[in-house]
Symmetry: C2
Subunit: 486 residues, 2 copies
């Protein structure tokens, strides 16, 4: 039975949602652009059963996918749990069976399987589409195929045996020129292993290249970047070990003494050609974009100076305080001998780590980074909610050519989540389109979706849900040409 | 498109819900009785599109059925719109097509059909089950068959042609001794007609007797009562006319000069045997129970001294003020010559009109009336919401033998709706079971379901939904033996 009464922090707006829903012809304000034809998908972590131990972290909670289907100025909404093996086993048992985040040794004996940690994934991180197929992804397991219209879970896939890793990143990257998808899995051969599997899929979804290599030390490899010539995989700071898991702890701790590292892999090279660049203590959780310019590989990303994870213990014993997190340029000089990267702060404005770009410019020269952030000059009453303290009240368009920041405020009682860029049909100019992103509104206990004209950063419409949503992790827009949408 | 921004009073807790939902293994507090095996169904009025004209009344809004399926101490929730012809046509048009409450002359020309007013029903009033079939009912149309497990709408039915009326009451009554169902339709042959069609269905659902007769004047006939020997149909106060409808007004007005009337129909008699008893201005919207004792037919019901409908204009021009509404005994002496009924107030405590009894005693000598009411001695912050002003904060068990009132308080921020009586499996004693009823909680923007031990009137458990619900009209419990529940 589902009794959350003993769960601290699970009341109010951010209590688990725990329901599947359909809204037909959503309530809207403003004018939904009639030429928006596609769907905005989001993945949310949403506990079906209360965590056990009770202090397990939100990253471990069950995956839930929602979609806003846009067509002819009308928006329909659908939300469904991702029917992972874990979800189904818990539904049958009618209780929480799984222990700490990515620690199978803490699971109920009936489901414990440390040799196959991918069986306990919750597929709660990023909606991904490639070759006309929609996936729910999470870096600790295989992607789950999802019907793009019904959101029914078809099941996990190893791409017909072509995927040689227990896990698959939540942030594969698609080359806008070739349609290829680059993806990797880490802890690829088992819990805490240093193994990484990397592969390129062609535009039809077939694996055409693959690599297997080891990282300097096992760490969270959450995102990646792609240039026309290189794959970049940032890591470091987070540490784990089998000893740690056997002690019954959550998967990661933070070790300030560890360098950050960046694997730079030539797309036409072999595993032996990988260069590992080192940097100071950093967390590059997400990337914005990257490019190769001659012998320099340039990554732009939000970077934090210290542990960005409130849930992961600091091995030095420090109390968690949110570190500075700003947009930076990290440069890897392939001609250098010392394998150290250099770093430049692009904007002093603190931001969240949820950056996005116009994906038509992925890996190419580009100009705009979109990210939600907290504009201290705008009134906000949302920050009074403890769970909103890492929140944001504005979407920002950061112009890396001019240094200009254009902003769109979400409302006094709103907490904004990652904006996604939606290209205007028929356009090709970078940044010509819209931003779409969630604005949680605890004051009215309802979630809203903002549609912002990206060139002007003016809000044009809002979709209003009649209920609150669980927080999302990531969202993604896929046009009617990218998925077989009904 | 659904833009409710211009709709006064359609914000906050009682904004239209407009979503279909499933909750698996609902969050609960307390202990759900393990021997509860069945489903609690509710019908809600819930605007799919904003009313047009904007001051149309809630009674006209789209029907939405919800169910709480209880089994083994676990509760699953489901909510679905009733797919009436009206709903489907509006979904296709993506706007409101229907005008004022029960006035087809105010409908969009494309759907206007005054000869068949039943085509515009919203089936939003009472879940009814008979002969193993579940129906969504409303007194202005035919009942809609509903799949008791999926809540899919199968469609309206005239019982294979056996039902000879455009409309069907939302309050048929089932004889607990014979399993027969008595039901009627009024305005049976057309808008504003005085015609009533009354029929008895046997326990298999076949019509075995039928009557056709006229009322003294056309009025709302919302409920009925059944004794072992008689059917009672109360009416009066509300008035209408084709002229009124042609003038573009809502169906009913209130005429204080009109007497109340009560049709008393012998179950083994003919239409010519019907007696019409008259009383003073009254509104008997719902009945509690009735019985025949020799030459006396006794009805017990909440009765209001004046217009109970805030939405229906007073033909005398008075401003609406909620009238006194108390539980009363109305007696019809079949030996009397003047055809006047007599009335006795059973309890001075004001109550809502939503009374229920242990249906195993329907038409028989009985003791307990259950109703929600506002206990002024209990703290309440819910009354500050304007839409809660007709609300209630407690369930009451009124003992008509001893005059005792036993009460169960629903919470400081809660508004309670009609309790339904659920017999304890294996019991036969009147009142041995539970009350189940909705407690809206605007403070947490969520609906809750209270389960109360009926003999002690102590709350034993609560089901907590993760969202608000539209107000219900009526709810009904059907055990696993009454419907083919999965």
């Amino acid at each position: 039975m589902a009794d959350f009464s003993g769960q601290a922090g699970m009341r109010g707006y951010f209590a688990p949602s725990r329901f599947e829903a359909d809204v037909y012809d959503c309530e809207t304000t403003g004018e939904i652009p009639k030429d928006l034809d596609g769907a905005f998908y989001r993945l949310h972590p949403d506990w079906l059963y209360p965590p056990n131990p009770p202090d397990d972290i939100p990253l471990a909670s069950d995956g839930y996918m929602s979609m806003f289907r846009f067509r002819g100025g009308v928006v329909d909404y659908k939300g469904r749990y991702v029917r992972t093996e874990r979800f189904e086993r818990q539904m049958s048992a009618r209780r929480q069976l799984y222990g700490y985040y990515r620690n199978p040794f803490t699971d109920d004996p009936g489901v414990r399987d440390p040799e196959h940690p991918q069986r306990r994934t919750t597929a709660n991180t990023t909606p991904v589409a490639h070759a006309g197929v929609l996936y729910a992804t999470k870096e600790d397991g295989l992607p789950h195929r999802i019907d793009p219209n019904t959101l029914e879970t078809i099941g996990p896939t190893d791409f017909g045996g072509a995927w040689k890793s227990q896990a698959f990143t939540a942030h594969p990257k698609i080359d806008p020129v070739t349609g290829e998808m680059a993806a990797f899995g880490y802890e690829a051969s088992g819990l805490c292993s240093k193994d990484v599997f990397l592969a390129i899929f062609d535009r039809t979804g077939a694996v055409t290249r693959e690599w297997r290599f080891e990282v300097p030390y096992t760490s969270m490899l959450h995102d990646m970047a792609l240039t026309r010539e290189h794959v970049i995989i940032p890591g470091g700071g987070c540490v784990t070990s089998l000893e740690r898991l056997h002690e019954g702890k959550t998967h990661w701790a933070w070790d300030s003494s560890k360098p950050s590292y960046y694997g730079v892999i030539p797309r036409d090279g072999e595993a032996k050609d990988i260069r590992w660049f080192l940097g100071p203590e950093r967390a590059v959780v997400h990337t914005a974009n990257a490019r190769t310019e001659g012998s320099k590989v340039i990554l732009e990303a939000p970077a934090a100076d210290a542990n960005p994870w409130p849930w992961f213990e600091d091995l030095a014993g420090g109390q968690f305080t949110a570190p500075r997190n700003t947009l930076r340029r990290i440069t890897f000089d392939l001609d250098s001998k010392d394998d150290r990267c250099t770093e430049e702060v692009l904007f002093e404005q603190p931001v969240t780590s949820f950056t996005r770009v116009d994906d038509r410019r992925l890996g190419l020269p580009y100009r705009y980074i979109y990210v939600q952030y907290f504009d201290l000059d705008r009134p906000s009453r949302a920050g009074s909610h403890p769970q909103l303290r890492y929140g944001a009240n504005s979407f920002g368009r950061f112009d890396i050519l001019t240094g200009e920041l254009k902003s769109c405020f979400g409302g006094e009682t709103h907490m904004l989540q990652e904006p996604s860029f939606v290209p205007r049909p028929g356009s090709s100019e970078e940044g010509d389109g819209w931003l779409i992103g969630t604005a949680h509104n605890p004051a009215e206990m309802r979630a809203e979706l903002m549609i912002v004209d990206a060139p002007t950063m003016q809000e044009v419409a809002r979709v209003i849900l009649p209920f609150r949503n669980a927080t999302q992790v990531h969202g993604a827009w896929f046009g009617a040409g990218e998925l077989p949408l009904a």
